[in-house]
């Protein structure tokens, strides 16, 4: 699981730290292609990107890059709260109606869009076994939740992650 800088990293850590979590602490917009590189390198493992509207807006082009390669083992969950919640709650473009689900669909990703928890079980199963590239657009509330801060040591979490998935030489 790869989490983008900002609230997605806090949210993923809040679900419980795990050696198979990798947190990106800089480079807003990088997350989708980190997932692509990992999915191409490990085609037999499922890769989940947890990201937000700010990260995807900065990386709209990377949805096209992913759409061309069509990695079956890659899924993106975009937690869209319409705000840059980690940096002052300024509204993002999605607050003004820009639709990231439509953008992902146009880039040939397989899209599911939700705005409540009614389909949570179904979508969890889809993430575990559905064919990618998946893009789950989840509109969420713009609350400022308590933050769980995982390690910022990039080399340490890289080695921890690689050891956990068996890619550390």
């Amino acid at each position: 699981m790869i989490a983008s800088i900002g609230s997605p990293t806090y949210d993923v850590a809040a679900c419980g730290d795990n050696p198979r979590n990798f947190y990106i602490w800089s480079g807003l917009g990088c997350t989708p292609t980190v997932g692509l590189g990992l999915a191409l390198a490990q085609p037999d493992k499922r890769v989940l990107i947890v990201t937000g509207d700010g990260d995807v807006l900065m990386a709209l082009g990377s949805l096209a890059t992913i759409g061309v390669k069509q990695p079956k083992n890659l899924a993106i969950v975009c937690l869209d709260n319409g705000h840059y919640s980690a940096s002052g709650m300024q509204p993002s473009a999605t607050k003004a109606g820009v639709d990231l689900a439509e953008a992902a669909r146009a880039c040939k990703l397989r899209v599911e869009a939700v705005s409540d928890l009614s389909r949570a079980d179904e979508l969890r199963d889809l993430l575990h076994s559905g064919e990618g590239p998946l893009f789950i657009h989840a509109r969420v509330d713009a609350d400022d939740q308590p933050r769980v801060i995982p390690s910022r040591d990039g080399v340490a979490i890289k080695h921890r992650f690689m050891q956990a998935i068996g890619t550390l030489a």
Binding site: S26, G27, T33, V34, A41, S62, K158, M162, T167
Partner: protein, 186 residues
């Protein structure tokens, strides 16, 4: 890995051999993912990577995506390289930070613009700061002026990136060597 006879390949292609030599060194160092943004100067190198079954080539919408691709490949246990024009380096300044923060090896091949016999003056501002920008981003920069130095330089860059020392290494291909075809009308 099947034996790749680079001399035979260059001979049969009847072209400048530097793209073939870079490709051959990539294979020798087991580079498996090559991300790029289209560029006339490195068109043959891109083509060689595309036609190679042992390499996955990824056409990027922006060079800025390249750092993410490389970090993902590294996490997945594969070696990766990026190909781009010098103008694209400017698009990557912030995203290169993820590679530096994680000490993720990256071999970056840059075809220079804004130098010798440049036909578009608007390429000069970025081309003239490419090397210092890369140095500030943490890259070791190896500049290649002559085709005779391509193979040894690419090999040294791969050894530096993948063997410790400095994980970020850029190979700057001088515009004079790359000899790009000018578009119609220029």
């Amino acid at each position: 890995m099947a034996q790749w006879d680079v001399e035979q390949h260059i001979h049969s292609a009847r072209q400048a051999g530097w793209p073939d030599r870079i490709h051959a060194v990539f294979k020798r160092h087991a580079i498996k993912q090559v991300g790029y943004v289209a560029d006339n100067g490195i068109a043959r190198l891109i083509d060689l990577c595309e036609r190679d079954n042992e390499i996955t080539e990824i056409a990027l919408a922006s060079e800025a995506e390249g750092a993410g691709l490389v970090l993902g490949a590294v996490l997945g246990g594969e070696r990766a390289a990026l190909l781009m024009q010098s103008s694209g380096v400017g698009n990557c300044v912030n995203t290169f930070s993820i590679l530096k923060n994680c000490a993720a090896p990256c071999v970056l091949v840059v075809s220079m613009r804004g130098e010798f016999d440049e036909f578009n003056s608007w390429q000069v501002p970025m081309g003239s700061i490419t090397e210092p920008v890369l140095t500030l981003c943490g890259f070791c920069c190896y500049r290649v002026e002559n085709e005779a130095d391509v193979e040894s330089t690419t090999d040294a860059a791969c050894k530096m990136a993948f063997g410790g020392g400095n994980p970020l290494v850029a190979i700057l291909l001088a515009q004079r060597m790359v000899s790009r075809t000018k578009p119609k009308g220029h």
